[in-house]
Subunit: 188 residues, 2 copies
């Protein structure tokens, strides 16, 4: 599966976000999403377990990329492992995805339950990254501190990347935020 | 109000945790907690909005201590402000509180809904700390990176502090974790 899947999954995703943006997340049914994409509800449920999943399934793929990077890296120090993991976001957040990510965030920010879910997803992303780093022989405390700080930097980079008018790539922004992290925390 | 309030609030807290530990969080009613403390339900609701709040009201007081420390500090750098905020945990997590905190965590760890609530509470504690630091003239990105890293260190210190047989004070453990954070992230 490609980083930005084509076919039915993408049509459903685009149709869903379009409807969420117009009518609010709560005001849209799976039947409406499927109809707008010219597909059946059954096809929808082959791709997503529910309508929330349209907005969040990317995070599972991102977690997979991060963990793969950590497992395959030759680095030893926890923050090097984190930096290599986060570098995989650059391929995930390509230019073609930026407008979609921006609209998605607007939908999420308008809905407290979606914000909670996003917050919990970010915590589990950090926990998974910490476990991956620990599996590379790093002690638990160091692995968790590195993973939490890294996911904080990732979140800051993402917020900046979707600002209207921002033209730097995800990679450029994230590198700048990681520099800032090292400075801010290292000088503490 | 003292850091560890006496009287009805404390009696209710002790009775609640005792019942939660025996029967599980879901298996206990407010009526039972009040009866075990020799008080009325009405008195319970004067102290806590619901039975979950018995476990979480401390976090609001802790947030108040952190924000006060940031507002009153003469420090300028974000991690210095974070360190001064976190140093207030030492008075909050005194020796008298350790057994209670340990049992409380056992109750929370056994209940996925409580774990979610705790996770969200930690995120809002980090967000509040970041806002407090920003209000001191630090740019948003640096404030958030420092607050998130600091709360990660706080969580690690807390986990260690409640380990059975751990004898170091919260202050000692947290200082060690903050050193580790500076090393791990600064060398990244």
């Amino acid at each position: 599966m490609g980083r930005w899947e084509t076919g039915a999954g993408e049509r459903l995703r685009v149709a869903a976000l379009d409807l969420f943006s117009k009518n609010g997340f709560e005001g849209v049914t799976v039947a409406e999403i499927a109809a707008a994409a010219g597909l059946t509800e059954r096809t929808f449920f082959r791709h997503y377990s529910d309508k929330r999943e349209v907005l969040f399934d990317g995070q599972d793929r991102l977690e997979g990329l991060f963990l793969q990077a950590v497992a395959e890296s030759r680095a030893v120090r926890p923050m090097e492992l984190v930096t290599e993991a986060l570098s995989r976001s650059a391929e995930f957040f390509g230019e073609d995805r930026r407008p979609w990510s921006r609209s998605r965030q607007t939908v999420i920010d308008a809905n407290p339950a979606l914000l909670e879910r996003e917050s919990l997803k970010m915590n589990s992303l950090a926990a998974a990254l910490a476990s991956g780093i620990e599996a590379r022989g790093v002690l638990a405390v160091a692995a968790t501190l590195a993973a939490d700080s890294g996911i904080s930097a990732f979140r800051m980079a993402f917020s900046q990347w979707i600002v209207e008018g921002e033209e730097r790539s995800f990679e450029q922004i994230q590198a700048a935020v990681l520099d800032e992290l090292r400075t801010v925390v290292g000088l503490g």
